[in-house]
């Protein structure tokens, strides 16, 4: 069964990456520690400016943490395997590229969810955040809807190291930085200069944050947030196939120019 075969192969990536997490456990703990500290310091800024701000800011920190994990795991997967020296082995496996990248995305979502949950637990312990007003279910659904868009972005970012082994990974970081700046992670996008607000409009994270805050701060229902979620889903449904298409072009380019791997 072709489909069964491909589905089973996605598990290769999930298992491999969790094995890697286990083997690099010290680093995982350090990164997690850093994420927690980051969320806390941002939360404390909220404490100094007013209690309403705490939730606004911690939602930003948590969501950004989650989206960064997705973007990073998918976007850096090519650079990482090139560094490990396994890239050619993975690329010549008898599976579809969709299976390979899908496996990476499934891992990223599971892993990102676990990490964000841990950070959330610590944050909730430090600040007694009131979630009485919050509509947690809408919040969760916003997260699911925006995962698609971020996976699409990650796929586009993943192609950069295929085009340029030296500069691709640098470009990925710059892209991530720009998204952080323009998406209103810790402030309303309205405070940005006009020309930067143009970029806010095309960043899916802008809509994720707006919708997540509406769900968690104002308790808006799924029905009320329907249009926002639909927008995120549509962005995702455009970005994922587009990302795959661009990835395929990049792969073909790498196979023609010898950029997949140089030495050996």
């Amino acid at each position: 069964m072709e489909l069964g075969r491909e589905l089973r192969a996605t598990y290769a990536f999930v298992e491999r990456n969790f094995n890697l997490v286990r083997r690099y456990l010290n680093w995982e703990i350090v990164f997690l520690f850093y994420s927690i500290i980051n969320a806390l310091t941002i939360g404390f800024i909220g404490v100094t400016t007013g209690p309403d701000e705490v939730l606004f800011l911690t939602v930003g920190a948590l969501l950004w943490g989650f989206l960064s994990v997705l973007f990073h795991e998918v976007g850096e997967s090519v650079s990482w395997e090139r560094w490990e020296g396994t890239i050619e082995y993975t690329f010549m496996a008898p599976i579809r590229r969709l299976t390979h990248l899908g496996g990476m995305c499934i891992f990223a979502i599971i892993y990102g969810t676990i990490r964000t949950t841990v950070v959330l637990a610590v944050v909730a312990f430090f600040f007694d955040i009131s979630l009485k007003e919050a509509n947690l279910f809408s919040g969760l659904l916003v997260l699911v809807c925006s995962s698609l868009a971020f996976i699409g972005l990650g796929l586009m970012a993943a192609v950069l190291p295929l085009l340029s082994p030296e500069r691709g990974s640098q470009a990925t970081h710059i892209l991530q930085g720009v998204i952080l700046l323009v998406s209103g992670v810790y402030y309303e996008v309205e405070v940005l200069p006009g020309w930067l607000q143009n970029l806010s409009v095309i960043s899916p994270a802008t809509y994720t944050l707006k919708a997540a805050r509406a769900a968690l701060l104002e308790g808006q229902s799924i029905a009320a947030l329907g249009p926002e979620m639909l927008r995120l889903v549509v962005i995702g449904l455009v970005l994922i196939p587009l990302g795959l298409f661009i990835f395929n072009l990049g792969e073909n380019y790498a196979m023609r120019s010898g950029k997949l791997k140089r030495s050996g």
Binding site: R5, R8, A9, Y11, A12, E15, R16, N19, L20, R23, Y24, E84, G85, T86, E88, Y89, T90, F91, M92, A93, P94, I95, R96, N252, M255, R256, S257, G258, L260, K261, S263, G264
Partner: protein, 277 residues
Amino acid sequence: MAAVLEDALVCTGVSKQFYEEEERVPGVKRRWFGRRKRPIHAVKDVTFQVKRGEIFAILGPNGSGKSTLIRIISTLLFPDRGSVHIFGMDVMKKRLYVRRMINRVSVEAAFFKKLSSYENLMYAARLYDVKPEEARVRSREILERLGFSPKKIYIPMENLSRGMQQKVAVARALLTSPVLLLLDEPTTGLDPKSKRDVQKFILEVQESHDTTVILTTHDMDEAEKLCQRMAIIEDGSFVALDTPQNLKAQLTRKNGHAVTLEDVFLELTGKGWEEEG
């Protein structure tokens, strides 16, 4: 049709060129429209066939284009010109199917260094749809035949010697039951014992499995010991293709005294073996 299937591999007129950015020379002004690219002809018009069940060696010094040719055969590089068919399937058009039939061992160990041999082998098994249970049994069996101590299968691969890592690489390739096995300098840099273990195993595989092997090497003794036919590659071109015995016999007749493969190489390329490097 049956005759066609006896050919495991058919390479026809394969060429590959890379472009390398020229080094920036201090003091020399860069041209404002960007750096010039220098073409490197890595593989030039290579044509050959390999019969099913054969071990075919490609012998050549460093930088002669062996790895590039292997990458083209293993669907990792597109040739600029020419075609490659594996059991009748075009490697460019039927990539997915070709990939199911082949596996490659490269010079450098392509492993997740922090993962154990077992974890790396399981990753391979899942990618190639080998059942985990079967993979466990088979990889142990192969590793044992290669003289790999089974206790070491659970420690991170970065703690294994190069010889051990290469044995795991061979096991990983065999685990997926390839009908065409591509070995790119599998014994380069190995200690003498590991080298012999790997060579012995390659011969065993050919006897016991329906596997065709393409082997690159810069070790003449290895080529002579393992292959039925061999090609000598130099600067991307095949300069000879025959059985090791015939290659030596031709020159022996010409020179009137017994020769080694090294003499053959010298005669064909006008270069000493070691001066290349």
